[in-house]
Amino acid sequence: MSRTVTIVRTGPQALVQDLGRPGHAHLGVPPSGAVDPHSLKLANRLVGNREGAACLELLLGGLAVRAGASCTAAVTGPSVEVRVNGALADSHHPLHLGAGDVLEIGTPRTGLRSYLALSGGVDVPEELGSRSTDLLSGIGPDPLRDDDVLPLGSPGPACGADVVPPHHAPHRLQLPLRLGPRDDWFADAETQLRRGSWTVSDRSNRVGARLHGTALTRRDGEIPSEGMVTGAVQVPPDGQPVVFLNDHPTTGGYPVIGVVDHDHLRFLGQARPGTVVTFRPVG
């Protein structure tokens, strides 16, 4: 039997993701990669992969896959129902799949994104050093479709039983942020950020989390396009901030009032529309 999995059902969106392709921004190539890299690494550890192996990133679950050969699988991210051949199984725990077994993932009760790791990793060809799907640029594999067959790499040594805690997606997020590089476009940027309150918009995606709420008051005009980092809080003329996530454009012309600390971006990547967001300017 070949080491593959077949997508029986994708759910709302299923993408191949690893830790992305940083280092190519000067070519106009976004970093891409899992928006919750912490959950991706945990999933890989549970199946004995190296931490950065390619997994499936699922938006609101809903995926079903059939194993082409014996393999180990693990689902991380928020707490979610997992079934093997219809029988309840555990998320956040290694699962053995035999050839022909079907793994189904339900809809997470909180949060947005689940990660499915498979022993050996998803072995599609790399592009610029990564297997990640970049939805902005069209680099990497296409979003998965029903009946797609994905090759798996060679599995590492068998791992011992292990368990990891599920991601907890809170209803309110307070994000630490460093002011700049363009906080001088805003009258008292720190106070505006400290006093404002937003909710995550349903127009958010892997490019950016769009926030809806307090309009930030800024100068009119645009900046000649300049380099953008992941976590940059860009403020268009309407004052509603956008926090850049992994598939963000490498340059932009709206002023960036501040940058969210990197370790906290995964919480935003897991925040459902309606989640309340505030900023805490630090240092």
Binding site: P22, A25, G28, V29, E226
Partner: protein, 195 residues
């Protein structure tokens, strides 16, 4: 030169001209520990090795771009773009003269952005420095060669775009599966020739 903080591990170096951008980029290129080095119109974004970066920038001479050994790239173009006549009329010359001017000039990749492999080339003759279209096209075909402001560029793939299109090239500008994915990189010298 102004150093602006950009999160915990990056700096936005702001300068006054494209020449100064090139000087900053050249000074920082190859410095160990730098994770990203992104030149743009008036800035260079640098991520990583910030202590070293600050040290280098203290002594950088912005008037001088260190002599590098740039790659030279030739792009064959069929000059039959939908805006060729508009560009000629705006410049007060014939379409043939537009082609002659565009192919005689020597260009440099100032920076990339907008889309993977999209290089902003400087060196455009004065009369070809023209505004964008009033209304951008929803789809500019892959390989289109256009001008906008002080820049000329070729579109690596079909995207929306507002540049005035004067021609098209068959050359592959970006191939994510190739060993060198982007044909154009900051600092490269570029010439256009009639295909």
């Amino acid at each position: 030169m102004l150093l602006r903080r950009c999160g915990t591990d990056a700096l936005l170096v702001e300068v006054d001209s494209l020449t100064e951008v090139a000087a900053v980029r050249a000074a920082l290129q190859g410095l160990p520990g730098i994770e990203e080095l992104v030149p743009a119109a008036r800035t260079v974004l640098v991520k990583g090795a910030l202590t070293e970066v600050r040290k280098v920038l203290e002594d950088v001479d912005l008037t001088e771009v260190p002599a590098a050994h740039p790659r030279e790239v030739t792009i064959p173009v069929t000059y039959d773009g939908p805006d060729l006549d508009l560009v000629a009329r705006t410049a007060g010359i014939t379409p043939d003269e537009v082609v002659k001017l565009h192919t005689q000039a020597s260009y440099e990749v100032a920076f990339c952005g907008f889309a993977p492999g999209f290089g902003y080339l400087t060196g455009l003759p004065e009369v070809l420095r023209q505004p964008r279209l009033d209304s951008p096209r929803t789809k500019v075909p892959r390989g289109s060669v256009g001008i906008a402001g002080e820049f000329t560029a070729a579109y690596p793939r079909a995207t929306p775009g507002g540049w005035r299109l004067i021609g098209r090239t068959e050359i592959t500008l970006f191939d994510p599966g190739a060993e060198t994915p982007a044909l154009l990189q900051p600092g490269d010298l570029v010439r256009f020739v009639v295909a």
